[in-house]
């Protein structure tokens, strides 16, 4: 009571205000020594407020009773008082006896009582008010978050409704700027240039225009997107380090750097956050600027849960954009393909459905068949066949064969809209989708002209051949009868001359035959028969036919064939090949030598070799032997009586049999001409 009484005394003759402070209602008062903060007096309000007992407090220091929640702040208060300051209305938190922390508005000042320096600290509990205030702040934050959530919801709904991405992000940015009390900002998508370097392209940008020119510029940027590629900036830092960047130092160097165009409001504070997609890929940056008082971490805390949604929206927009690009590319490709198909006029390109009905029809089809597309779509393909073909169900058969074999190429008559006919080459291909037959591609070409030309050519060749052969038959016949002694013995010199005439007429016949064969081989019109051939018979036929030539030349002919050797092919044509090779060998063989035909069987193949003892062939000549009109020596044709087509014909016939032909020779060591046929092994 000693101090209290002294205080009361001091109040009685001292300051009215001080007395009121001591006696006034809810104020808790605590008097402590200024040096060590030892409690010398407290009033009842203090005890009521803290729940302490007087005895527990008096004589102990403020530290001992853990009065201040924040000891540093408490110490600062006391230092201020000791320095002689009057502390007014400082907010501090104190602790009750039970340890509960409460808010207080604290005043304090130093007094000297009987030469003792004391500090009088008054504590007004404001916990309820603080709670109410916090509640209000929380309410406001909740309100903001709700608004932001609504903005995001709206953005998501707009995204789902596939509204314009620009307005979606503009709306979102406007809300974010408003809610964070920022002046302006942007939402940028992270892209990479052709070199892989990242840059930002704005999806939304606050309008900061100030006059007409800047408004036009802003409009352009908002429409096309503004690109930010300078990494030496605040947004560059966000992009590079993928972390939020907050800068409130208006005077700092960083705020002035990069990205602010002339006429743009100066940057006072900046808050940039990275936006990540679902797979943690950096997809965008949200940049906000010029919040009064700057940006702080509570704002970050507030925004943080909402940012993934922004990231997802950018990601979804990107995915939709890519999809749309792919779709555009597909449409463009389809357009070009359609143009291509429509511009083809020489071929009728038709799609049929699985039942053979026309599903698409190009300009070439219209040109070939005479039907416009709208008239033919849905018609069965059999409408394009002549009646007799339809009656025999050829169209259905064609579809069936194509479906079964994967392709059907054929030639035949087709019917135009005006009932005229054309000769067509058609390729019918089944089209499958996921293993299901979804239709047929039908390519038709009118080859009437080509067919007529081929027939004319064929008839011409036939006629020329016939017209040449007729006089040759007469010459050959007359000479043959004389030379053969049908009219009695003639002088030797006459026989020789007749023989020369006869052999040259035969040479002319061979030339005509060779030209005819070559023409047919080149036109692919030499139809080969395919039967079983006894190799012994084949060799015997060829050799027998040449004995008349070998005898006078003094060349012996020999055949060496396995006893039972059967092959498949066109016998007449293979006799022709063998005859040609053996007659060549005879021509180049010296008298007294021999020409041998050997037949060897190997696995899946059979080889015919014609071996002579002639002069052989220079290596550099070997490669051109089988070309057309090839005579190694320009005098050969005259000296040996060849057309220069024989080996080319042999090669073509053998190759048409699926075989190959060749020669092995060395000058001075004869030649071996051979051909090999592939044989199916049973």
């Amino acid at each position: 009571m000693r101090v209290e009484s002294r205080l009361r005394a001091a109040a009685a003759h001292g300051s009215e205000r001080f007395a009121h402070a001591i006696l006034g209602g809810p104020l808790a008062i605590c008097v402590v020594t200024i040096d060590d903060q030892r409690v010398v007096e407290i009033n009842d309000s203090f005890l009521l407020l803290t729940g302490h007992e007087r005895a527990d407090v008096i004589g102990r220091t403020i530290h001992d009773i853990h009065f201040w929640v924040d000891m540093v702040e408490g110490a600062r208060l006391h230092r201020a008082i000791r320095r002689g300051c009057q502390v007014r209305g400082r907010e501090l938190r104190y602790r009750t006896r039970t340890g509960a922390a409460r808010f207080a508005l604290v005043c304090g000042e130093g007094v000297a009582v009987d030469g003792e320096h004391l500090a009088i600290v008054t504590v007004l509990d404001i916990t309820d008010r603080k709670h109410a205030e916090e509640q209000a702040v929380l309410q406001a934050r909740l309100q903001r978050n709700n608004t932001l959530l609504q903005a995001l919801n709206r953005a998501q709904s707009e995204h789902i409704a596939e509204l314009d991405a620009g307005s979606l992000f503009e709306g979102l940015l406007a809300q974010l700027v408003l809610l964070t009390e920022s002046r302006f900002g942007f939402i940028g998508e992270v892209l990479a240039d052709t070199g892989g370097a990242p840059y930002l392209k704005t999806l939304a940008l606050t309008d900061t225009s100030i006059d007409e020119p800047s408004r036009a510029l802003m409009e352009k940027h908002r429409r096309a997107g503004l690109e930010y590629g300078d990494m030496n900036t605040l947004y560059g830092e966000v992009l590079t380090h993928r972390v939020p960047v907050c800068e409130n130092d208006a005077a700092g160097g960083r705020l002035g750097s990069g990205g602010i165009p002339p006429g743009h409001p100066p940057l006072e504070s900046f808050f940039g956050v990275p936006l990540f997609g679902a797979s943690r890929e950096l997809v965008g940056v949200l940049a906000l600027a010029n919040r009064p008082g700057g940006y702080d971490s509570p704002l970050w805390t507030e925004l943080e849960p909402l940012l993934p949604v922004c990231g997802s929206l950018i990601e979804a927009r990107r995915s939709r954009h890519l999809k749309s690009l792919a779709e555009s590319a597909r449409r463009e490709s389809e357009r070009q393909f359609r143009l291509l198909v429509d511009s083809v006029r020489d071929y009728a390109l038709v799609m049929l459905d699985p039942f053979g009905r026309v599903a698409s029809w190009n300009a070439g089809a219209e040109r070939s068949f005479g039907y416009p597309a709208d008239e033919v779509l849905g018609l069965h393909v059999s409408e394009l066949y002549p009646r007799e073909e339809r009656d025999s169900r050829a169209p259905e058969r064609d579809l069936q064969i194509a479906a079964g074999e994967g392709r059907l190429e054929s030639e035949g008559w087709r019917l135009r809209r005006d009932n005229s006919r054309f000769w067509a080459n058609t390729v019918l291909t089944p089209v499958h989708e996921e293993q299901h037959l979804c239709g047929f591609a039908l390519v038709t070409r009118d080859i009437t002209e080509r067919r007529d030309l081929a027939r004319m050519k064929d008839e011409f060749v036939s006629m020329v051949s016939h017209e040449l052969r007729t006089p040759l038959t007469a010459i050959r016949g007359a000479l043959g009868l004389i030379e053969g002694g049908a009219f009695g013995a003639l002088p030797k010199v006459v026989i020789e001359l007749v023989s020369i005439a006869r052999s040259n007429s035969e040479r002319l016949v061979r030339l005509v035959n060779d030209i005819l064969d070559m023409e047919k081989l080149e036109a692919g019109m030499l139809a080969l028969g395919r039967g079983e051939i006894d190799a012994n018979r084949l060799v015997a036929t060829a050799l027998d036919g040449l004995r008349g030539m070998a005898g006078p030349a003094g060349v012996a002919l020999r055949g060496e064939v396995p006893a039972s050797c059967i092959l498949a092919g066109d016998e007449d044509r293979l006799v022709q090949v063998l005859t040609n090779l053996v007659s060549n060998a005879i021509k180049f063989s010296p008298p007294g030598s021999s020409v041998e035909v050997r037949v060897e069987e190997g696995p899946g193949r059979i080889r015919f070799s014609v071996v002579d003892q002639g002069p052989g062939i220079e290596p550099e000549d070997l490669s051109r032997l089988f070309g057309k009109f090839q005579q190694l020596d320009s005098t050969d044709a005259r000296r040996r009586g060849g057309s220069g087509l024989g080996l080319a014909i042999c090669k073509a016939i053998v190759e048409q049999h699926g075989g190959r032909v060749g020669v092995d020779s060395e000058p001075g060591h004869g030649s071996v001409f051979w051909f090999e046929l592939v044989q199916e092994t049973s």
Partner: protein, 127 residues
């Protein structure tokens, strides 16, 4: 062996002569000549030869038409006919064989072997 008669039909007199000489001198055939299809039909009916060598390419009544008419005539329907042709392409030869001829001899032929070829065809019934 009784003398056999061959009817040689060709619009080319030279070829007719060569064929006739070949058959007559080398093969001892009695040969009757016709210069057209129409003449051949008459001679075949009246002479009823043992074989007819019939050229294919003739004006008016060609070899194939003559052959068809010969086949319709009961008097000479069974006389073997050998076509002689300078049309030597495989499909042409196959066509002549296909109508039922005894054989086909291609021009030019070896006159010293013509009689043998005819004999071979008549005895083997092919080619």
């Amino acid at each position: 062996m009784a003398e056999r008669t061959a009817l040689v039909v060709d619009d080319e007199p030279d070829l007719r002569l060569i064929a006739s000489m070949s058959l007559a001198i080398v093969g001892n055939w009695r040969v009757v000549e016709a210069g057209s299809g129409a003449e051949a039909l008459v001679l075949a009916r009246t002479g009823r030869p043992d074989v007819i060598l019939l050229d294919v390419m003739m004006p008016e009544l060609d070899g194939l038409a003559t052959f068809a008419l010969l086949r319709q005539d009961p008097v000479c329907a069974d006389v073997p006919v050998i076509f002689m042709t300078a049309k030597v392409q495989a499909h042409e030869v196959a066509r002549y064989r296909g109508v039922g001829a005894a054989g086909v001899i291609l021009k030019p032929f070896d006159p010293m072997r013509l009689a043998d070829r005819v004999h071979e065809i008549l005895t083997s019934g092919s080619r």
